[in-house]
């Protein structure tokens, strides 16, 4: 691990460079500056249709800026965004009609009940089936008869989610969707996302919590300081992930044999225990180690945190 941050956009996932015509989202050199502050710096991103795409990055990396540009709420300082084949700048309303959007932070009208608020937004969209609103609310455990102003943060978030899903849009753009949801509701939300994908819809969701994206996304893009540093499938990221493995032997540690195994990046020996950092599969390592009498194996599951570390370097 050399600790070097990757500054150029890396597109390793073959599905993410498919034909732009079938892309749900495509940005070209998309940039946004606020005065002298750079919110988003020349982002080239392609999200194919029918995928769940996780948009990751620490707070302030530019996730919300990207999303608000895609929704036509902000105008790009440079570059362009195309959503479902339509340029957002020139077809704002047509894009909005086909997207379900959950803002990262929103305020509803506090004196309306959940049902009044949702049917109002539905009417502005040209009418939405009330039964569908009720069905989604029941799934998430949302009481539609309560005034929005009296709801907790988590329940308001449910109102936002129902609002995003209620017109069955071909594309869902969700900014920090599981913020404030309890674990059971979060699971229900994830199954709604999977159902949307099964129905051929595209889901673009942002998060700074890696585990929730890992649970549902096919591909992820990682954003850092306004720049997209990588786009890759979750599967191949996992393959490349660095794992930490602790092997305790009955006898002396066969350090040289272990270090020679492909994928082993680092080995530290402490008495009869070896701490290894391995890239990708650990199968070969285990088979090499086994004849030497392994007493115990401890492994740390590869989370995207570790993947983050491999791209950002240990100093982050």
């Amino acid at each position: 691990m050399d600790g070097k941050a990757i500054s150029e956009t890396v597109t390793l996932d073959p599905t993410s460079v498919s034909d732009p015509a079938s892309a749900a989202i495509r940005t070209v050199a998309l940039s946004k500056t606020y005065g002298r502050t750079i919110g988003l710096d020349s982002v080239d991103l392609t999200v194919p249709e029918g995928l769940v795409f996780g948009y990751l990055g620490p707070n302030g990396a530019g996730k919300t800026t990207t999303i608000r540009l895609l929704m036509g709420l902000l105008r790009p300082s440079a570059g362009s965004a195309t959503v479902l084949g339509l340029d957002v700048a020139t077809n704002r309303e047509r894009v909005q009609a086909q997207v379900g959007y959950l803002p990262g932070d929103f305020a509803a009208y506090p004196d309306l009940t959940g049902m009044q608020y949702l049917t109002y937004l539905g009417e502005l969209r040209g009418g939405v089936d009330r039964a569908h609103i009720t069905g989604l609310s029941e799934r998430l455990g949302l009481d539609l008869t309560k005034k929005v102003g009296s709801l907790s943060h988590g329940n308001r978030q449910k109102v936002g989610l129902v609002q995003a899903f209620m017109h069955s849009p071909p594309l869902l753009v969700l900014d920090e969707p599981s913020s404030g949801l309890d674990p059971l509701v979060q699971r229900e939300f994830l199954s709604m996302v999977r159902e949307a994908r099964a129905a051929g819809r595209t889901v673009f969701l942002s998060s700074h919590i890696l585990a929730e994206v890992e649970a549902v996304a096919d591909s992820v893009g990682i954003l850092r300081e306004g720049r997209l540093v990588i786009v890759e499938s979750v599967e191949s990221l996992r393959k490349k992930a660095l794992r930490r493995l602790e092997l305790t032997f009955e006898r002396e540690v066969p350090a040289e044999a272990l270090a020679a195994v492909a994928g082993v990046k680092d080995i530290q020996v402490d008495n009869r225990t070896a701490l290894l950092i391995v890239e990708g599969s650990t199968a070969e390592l285990i088979s090499v180690a086994a004849p030497h009498g392994v007493a115990n194996v401890r492994t740390l599951e590869a989370g995207l945190e570790q993947i983050f570390l491999s791209f950002y370097g240990e100093e982050d």
């Binding site: 959007y101 932070d105 305020a107 049917t119 109002y120």
Partner: protein, 263 residues
């Protein structure tokens, strides 16, 4: 329950409108009920002569011996213009900039409603609110006038209400236009209030300072009050008030259509 931005806004305004209309209407009624005792007061002219000249000019106190003059002095020279200005400016700033600052606008605008149409619904709601307020106050004063047999011609009262209604509308639309331009409730309220205060100072100063008098003509307060307004008919200058509001909107709408929406 509501299908449009306009109907939603009118639903939101219902209680506020009722409160403003009834409370201001009651003040108007009270003045009307005071009129007979004022009219029958012996030595009224002599009493009024004791007022300072400046007060007599600004509130048109000489005319107080007629019911139109009485209403002009008591209601239409300060109280009603002030209330309509406050109502128009606060609502004009709240309807767009206020919602934007509170983060309520985002989910409404992404429903694919064209931004200009959204803004025009808000304009319509503000206009209808101000007209409804004027109608309510008119009814209170008019019915009270009948009750005390004040002998006030309906048209004269209507002219007075039209003038203050237009004044509120002009500044309300100005506040809304600044809100559409900037997304800031503070700017919307500030600019429209500064215009109102500036207009009043210019109008009042024009009454006393000869050098200022020629500039009175640009003051919205002058447009509203110079004719009386009760008893002065419906001068064309009234139309300048809504016209200025419409021009402000025409400047703001294209910019609103293109600018970033705040969270």
């Amino acid at each position: 329950m509501f299908r449009t931005v306009f109907s939603k806004q009118m639903y939101d305004e219902r209680r506020r409108l009722l409160m403003w209309g009834v409370s201001t209407g009651l003040v108007g009624s009270m003045m009307m009920f005071l009129w007979p005792s004022m009219r029958d007061m012996p030595d009224l002219d002599q009493f009024l002569a004791n007022y300072p000249q400046a007060m007599r000019d600004l509130f048109n106190i000489e005319a107080i011996t007629s019911v139109a003059g009485f209403l002009n002095a008591e209601l239409f020279s300060f109280l009603l213009p002030g209330l309509f200005l406050i109502f128009g400016i606060t609502r004009g700033a709240a309807l767009v900039a206020g919602e934007e600052e509170a983060g309520k606008l985002e989910l409404v605008l992404v429903t694919s409603i064209p931004r200009v149409r959204f803004a025009l619904h808000k304009v319509a709601a503000l206009t209808v609110s101000i007209v409804a307020l004027a109608v309510m106050i008119f009814l209170f004063v008019w019915v009270s006038g009948l009750a005390v047999d004040a002998g006030l011609p309906t048209g004269e009262l209507a002219a007075g209400m039209t003038s203050v209604m237009f004044l509120g509308l002009e500044h309300g639309l100005l506040a809304m236009a600044v809100g559409l331009l900037t997304g800031s409730k503070t700017w919307a309220t500030g600019v429209a209030s500064a215009a109102a205060v500036g207009g009043y100072v210019l109008y009042a100063a024009g009454k006393f300072v000869d050098a200022v008098e020629p500039f009175q003509v640009v003051s919205p307060i002058y447009h509203a009050l110079e004719s009386g307004p009760v008893g002065g008919g419906f001068p064309l200058i009234f139309l300048l008030m809504p016209l200025v509001g419409v021009i402000a909107l025409a400047v703001a709408l294209p910019r609103f259509d293109r600018r970033d929406i705040g969270v």
